[in-house]
Amino acid sequence: MNLNYTAEELAFRDEVRAFLDEKLPADIAAKVKGFRRLSKEDHQRWQKILNEQGWYATHWPEEYGGVNWSPVQKHIWDEESSRYGAPRSVPFGVNMVAPVIIKFGTEEQKQRYLPRILTGEDWWCQGYSEPGAGSDLASLKTRAVRDGDHYIVNGQKTWTTLGQHANMIFCLVRTNTEVKAQEGISFLLMDMDTPGITVRPIITLDGEHEVNEVFFEDVKVPVENLVGEEDKGWTYAKYLLTYERTGLAGIGISKAALQHLKELATRRTKNGRPLIEDASFSQRIAKVEIDLMAASISNLRIIASVEGGGMPGAESSMLKVRGTEIRQTINDLARRAIGPYAIPFVEEEMDLDYDGDFLSDENAAPVTPQYFNNRKLSIFGGSNEIQKNIVSKMILGL
């Protein structure tokens, strides 16, 4: 039993800190810490810095330009970059489609797509969910029919995060209707500029344009854009989802958000004293901090168990549920901390270069939108109920 980092791991942490001290742009960090929206340019600027350092592709083998960090090193990176306010990499290219291409793609696909992900030339988005296929993903209907050396794709995808920035999309499509739902699905890569693809924004309850609908009308996709074998896409999709689940618990993000909450509660007042000194509020903070402490050790236990290689199993489902509940609780407390000022919706104060007077606290404006936006945490990446189904089946054998 040893809960400490090794000397090498501590040295790595110092290296990470030195890099973040030197290279993380202050304006980007300020946005992340204050829950301000990040532009496409912000993401790209940070990606370029990471790629120059060789630290962008943390999940890839070295031969493709990855870092090949150990699970502990990845964890250190997550913790430190969250603490410093570095943006999390938009995962669809680097952490989702890339591992699938590396494991199941052809040599040509690897040569073509992986370097473009590293440089940021391609911005990928995910075509999984459909209006009629959410938790029951395998019931998806978007149809791809083989026609010579092309597939003709018709249908609709939804909840496509940051699809408005993307030039590439990976999609699950139905190539066979004669077999069991899971056995007729294929994994297709498409250029978003292909005629017949239309992107339409979905504005979420916080007024943000983060997700989109994507429509496919007689879209011609070359057969070389099929990943792996036709009708075997479900296997690849599940493989990708294990990558998606890892890190969804967002322990590092929660730690940063908790710090933000405490600062907010130190500035806000109740009964003439800082809110953080109020007995009932400080106990609410204490409870979520304790839960986060426990989840953080649970996370380390999973990391230590996969340190020798391999992927975390259904334990990460349990942690996804726990971690997202914690993040939502912290958002809830931040909203409570600003009291009546949770009500005004002052979008202009969310811009970093806002130079007017603040209605209440300089960090108040994004708090309520963030709370509503993060209701998504328990829904995406497999809803928390689906995660419990996974645990129930895989671990408990029910």
């Binding site: 039993m1 901090e289 304790i290 426990a294 050790i297 408990l396």
Partner: protein, 378 residues
Amino acid sequence: MDFRLNEEQQMLQDTVARLVRGEYSFEKRLEYSESELGFSADFWKQLGELGLTAVPFPEELGGFGGTGVEVQSVMTELGRGLCIEPYLQSVVLGGGLISQAGNSEQHEQWLGGIASGETQAAVGLQEPQSFYDLNDVEARAEKSGDGYVLNGRKAVVIGGHCADVLVVSARTSGDSRDADGISLFLISADAEGLEHRTYPTIDGSKGSDLFLNNVKLGPDALLGEEGKAAEVIEYQAGRAISALCGEAVGAMEVACDLTLEYLKQRKQFGVPIGKFQVLQHRMVDMMSELEQARSMAILAASVADEPQSDERRRILAAAKNVIGRSGQFISEQGVQSHGGIGMTWEYNFAHYAKRLVMINHQLGDDDFHLERFAALLQ
């Protein structure tokens, strides 16, 4: 990072597990519980013979010099077996207080016996009005000649009815809730003026409230510096919290196993009830609580024997808060998942359910420790 037990720790835990499996059937436990002693003298003797009561003591007392992890290894298995022997009271708390505060004569007089199991200690730190605040001490120790006279009452002393020696706190100066002015005393079971009101506990042990009526003690009964016991008590209560975390995790493991097994075997509406999603998700929630408790137990063990610090205080308060909550959750949801059978005396699950809730009432419940943690927010 490595969260596994090392080879020695694993062997230690396996030894306890084997002993518990062999000696502690559910039926035998009920017998032990209903006996006059309130536990198994024979099992206690075996714990001593195998060196298990000596685990936290130094090698010269036959011990391992074990710290938080080793003590938890023992306590986890005692928790799995729902064992009612006074390991926590005698070995961890009694032995811990005497080790930390005692002088060499007191060490010599008591620790060998406690480490071998031949002497049984119990601790009286709480009082009727004190709730969980161990600094709320109204029992008084007045100077008399070169010794002391003690008056007052100590509450819910588990194992107190049959202990050879009692370690109690009493005030030598200051007001009722002052940290300063609390002293510790060693009282022999046969001391004049010491009376017990003995009772069974709801979770199968026995304990007593101690009434101190002009108990006359010699100068050698004072344990540690006069008036300065609060720090020692807080520190040793912290070690005991870590030990309780181990016991709680063991009991939760079995409670979850029993519930899962029942979900697979009990049929209603023509199918095992584990096919119902509402029960599946409840079971997952129970497992998730167990995982949180395991994580906090590990963290608690890592600081149990470290020097006192606010970080140690924070971790132990957090750990006790988590096991209090998770223990009650697993107890209540486990009973609910079982239905009526989970409420019967003759089914072992019910006894795990009781113990898990009562652990929350030892050394401070989740509310108490939440308040402590909140006071240490950084």
